[in-house]
Symmetry: C2
Subunit: 332 residues, 2 copies
Amino acid sequence: MCAYALRPNREVVHPEWTSPVADKLDLVERVIESTIDSAVELACEISSHVFSAGGKRIRPALVVLSAGACGAQVDAPRVTGIAAAAELIHTASLLHDDVVDAANARRGVSTANAKWGNTLSVLGGDFLLSKAFSLLADADGPGVLTVLSAAAVSMAESEMLQAVCEGSIDSWRAGYWRIIHGKTASLMAACCECGAVLAAADESVRLAFRDYGTSFGVAFQITDDLLDIIGDPAQTGKDIGTDLVNGKFTLPVLLAYERGLALTPLVGSGRLSAEDARRVAVQVVECGAAEEARRVAEDYAGRARNALTEIADSDYKAALNALASSITARDL
Amino acid sequence: MCAYALRPNREVVHPEWTSPVADKLDLVERVIESTIDSAVELACEISSHVFSAGGKRIRPALVVLSAGACGAQVDAPRVTGIAAAAELIHTASLLHDDVVDAANARRGVSTANAKWGNTLSVLGGDFLLSKAFSLLADADGPGVLTVLSAAAVSMAESEMLQAVCEGSIDSWRAGYWRIIHGKTASLMAACCECGAVLAAADESVRLAFRDYGTSFGVAFQITDDLLDIIGDPAQTGKDIGTDLVNGKFTLPVLLAYERGLALTPLVGSGRLSAEDARRVAVQVVECGAAEEARRVAEDYAGRARNALTEIADSDYKAALNALASSITARDL
């Protein structure tokens, strides 16, 4: 959790026309502040930077004033939440705009892309857009949207974490499980949980399907990471060692590193050359780390099947079990 | 509307484990196909490219199979729609991933960023993510989420249109109104409409607030465009003529062009140098086009106030009217 307060150095000044709702706009500011909090500190830091840079908060004011003019109770959490969501959607588009325009400053303050680069600005925008929908989902009560928007937030956070870890073996060792849970397993778990929600299933059933999706997603991603080392480029459509070239150190490589694979001298700029990457891939196989990674993936596939033990048998359940069994054997 | 069919040259082959739901996955494919349709042809073209490149459609299968295993009716439009939304969220993240990784190929097919560049890939991802939430909103019946997600889709589409128009005066002449409606007015209209929805107001009231927001948004954007020509950099935080440097030809410039301003010889690469941009800004003021653009903005501000004529008086309504009046006089 990070503790950035919005506009730490600025007095919030609302223009005169906002007077009927000035205190409500302060509430909106608090909602924005708590919404952009994230376990991925950088997600919060970038969001806080763009919100602290100012802005007139016209969109939240439009929501609150229009609601008031129609007779709604303007300090209801639902009104405040939706007003905050509108500002998040707007700010997400500003982050992406600044990338598109390669802008250096906005409102006299450095843009996020000038400060953190394009990659993190794109992902920061995704984080805010997904958070906006997450707020909207909360406003309507729990349902499939809550589940899927939370997954979209996790995906953006993990992609940011992955970008920050780029080129650092130690960062990948510390972050690997969190990254693959967020970038792959979270959406798959959400898909399965949505199935249970659609059937109005019990909480225990919902959790069982969520567990299936999480374990399946981890097995899927480890297999994906493995295919970067042992896959057939004609099947996968990408060269061996592409992850290494992109500064990504995934499970098979991390396991080889623990077995003593001398990666450090190869990692100068944080990324490997295509030739070094291919050489490392061969070593990862030879030292047995690729095989070990496959066993870990198979273990997760087994956990996925186990998650459904209490679920009544059906063709659908059989298909989910078959899917879990086949996923670690896939070749693309 | 564009008429790209998914996988025009490929047979859709579902792996064996999908057999209980193969026909449902075909339905999901049709939903994806109709969802990515867009009046902005490029939005549809890029989406169609990434979906046609293949993919195993695992996430939709997880939704449908989990729903079936819990006893839901798996061919209900709600199930199919949510399954399609999950695939859209996934594909949006792939588009942004490929930008982040500067990847040239995925699944053996050129990536969108290799084909259309980073800008359009980022915006294409935003389009798909917003469309996903739009589908989810439809699944839950009309409400604030429907309104706001539709605005997010419009924003992404218009940003794409703007990117495509970059550097071409003729394209900006043809597209200016559509661009500013989509990128600015759509979210402001949605904010106001949400206010009415939150108050459970009548359809006519909802439309009145939507109209207010649209006209207000247009007045706001024209004023923004004008500040690029006549603003004080100390107030706006950006240099005079930044839009021209970025290849954007906005209303004041388009009006000057219609009055005979000789822009064409200046536009070599599609963007103006900072010096040429400042010179053009002076000319736009001298020929009276800046003043004319301000009148157009004021006209829209008047339309915004008129939209609320039938709404009962209140402090909130008065604030909205004051906001509309002040917006064309703002200096940042």
